[in-house]
């Protein structure tokens, strides 16, 4: 058995499954977040209107972020556009002296997402080996307590300079942690499903919170790209760390869905990953079905948006119509 690229039907199954997995949880979190919802992403519009932020850099948390170390190039380039980090790359950015203008968070997971902001309750959590295995922020793989404390201090030090683009779907703990760190919160709902259906999750979330619903692409990185496009009106958007895949030679143990893949495919799990040859890199990277769904979704969105998207990840599998695959230095030379 070797899983090939997925068909539209198969991608739809993942989309439906994601709705089932996240919508109810997201809506429950939205109810708990109500007391903290004071401003929405639409309140950002005056300061981030057309022409103000013509270019943006999205710092996603794929493995190339740590392989290519792009922060120095950004800091020395005097890039004037917005820097939008995803929650998973916040620690990397702060450790390397790059304070993002915005950080986006969306995943409703009850205990993991808080770690990207420094978890003040880590000592009381149940054991979870995810952070020892994950590749989004390898700094957290070891000495978890010490690195967590370092992150708490970094977020507390820089929080006042960072606006959180916070989805109503996230755990209430994220809102409290961000407020504790002095961050400004700008809320939004994920566009869960068809808003024209009266009982849709999108309608329910909107009626409950009065926050606008934004397209997500299924993950935080794509949500950040949508935010840059639709709210900041960025016309030139660079993507960093948007691998949506794993470099050749990565142990499957270090992939995002390792446990699920082993549960499903047993000792043949390795065969269930999808191999994609990247002609720009002349390398074959591999991805899991969910990341492949993210890839196809972002390609579809990029084709529909009236902005230019530059994949400056210098790794991964995100290439195709609507995406310009170029080195970061070329983007910075052009738009700094």
């Amino acid at each position: 058995m070797r899983v090939k690229r997925l068909t539209k039907t198969q991608l739809d199954i993942i989309a439906r499954q994601t709705l089932e997995k996240t919508a109810e949880a997201g809506l429950q979190n939205a109810r708990k977040n109500l007391p903290y919802i004071k401003k929405t992403i639409l309140d950002l519009t005056p300061e981030a209107g057309p022409g103000v932020t013509d270019a943006a850099i999205i710092v996603s948390a794929g493995p190339s972020l740590h392989r290519k170390q792009p922060t120095r190039a950004i800091l020395t380039s005097k890039f004037k556009g917005a820097v939008v980090a995803v929650d998973g790359s916040l620690g990397y950015c702060l450790r390397n002296g790059l304070v993002p203008d915005y950080v986006v968070t969306v995943d409703p997971h009850a205990t993991r997402i808080i770690r990207w902001f420094g978890d003040t309750k880590l000592a009381h959590r149940e054991a979870d080996d995810y952070f020892q295995r994950q590749d989004l922020d390898p700094a957290l793989n070891r000495e978890e307590a010490a690195r967590n404390q370092e992150l708490i201090e970094l977020v507390n030090r820089h929080g006042r300079s960072i606006k959180v683009i916070i989805s109503t779907s996230v755990s209430e703990e994220i809102a409290l942690r961000c407020l504790e760190a002095g961050m400004e919160l700008y809320w939004w709902n994920p566009l869960y499903d068809d808003y024209d259906k009266p009982k849709s999750y999108s309608q329910q979330a909107y009626k409950l919170t009065k926050a606008p619903c934004m397209v997500t692409g299924g993950n935080c990185g794509t949500s950040a790209w949508v935010f840059a496009h639709a709210i900041l009106h960025s016309k030139q958007t660079a993507l960093l760390g948007m691998d949506l895949s794993y470099p050749p030679g990565t142990s499957i143990q270090n992939t995002q869905y390792y446990k699920e893949m082993v549960e499903l495919f047993g000792d043949r799990a390795e065969e269930a990953f999808i191999r994609i040859y990247n002609p720009y890199l002349k390398q074959t990277w591999f991805t899991d079905p969910t990341y492949y769904w993210y890839r196809q979704s972002l390609l579809e969105l990029a084709r529909q948006a009236d902005c230019s998207t530059y994949n400056c990840t210098e790794g991964g599998i995100l290439f195709g119509k609507g995406i310009k695959f170029i080195p970061l230095k070329d983007f910075l030379n052009k738009f700094s």
């Binding site: 058995m1 994601t18 709705l19 808003y195 606008p212 397209v215 079905p289």
Partner: protein, 62 residues
């Protein structure tokens, strides 16, 4: 062996086999069941190029 099992009579009704082209194979079925367990971080849908939906009163932004 098959030559010994060849029928030496005609069936009263013509037997037609179903076209299996549109039926998923066992492997495809297994893959589809598997995909049901691999959801993403958050739900995603896109409708008529609307990136942000601002509610019933209706402004839609691109």
């Amino acid at each position: 062996m098959p030559k010994y099992l060849k029928g030496n009579y005609r069936l009263p009704k013509k037997v037609t086999t179903k076209d299996n082209k549109s039926q998923p194979t066992i492997e495809q079925k297994f893959e589809q069941e598997s995909l049901r367990k691999l959801g993403g971080s958050i739900a995603f849908v896109m409708k008529s190029k609307t990136f942000v939906w601002k509610g019933d009163e209706g402004e839609k932004t691109d």
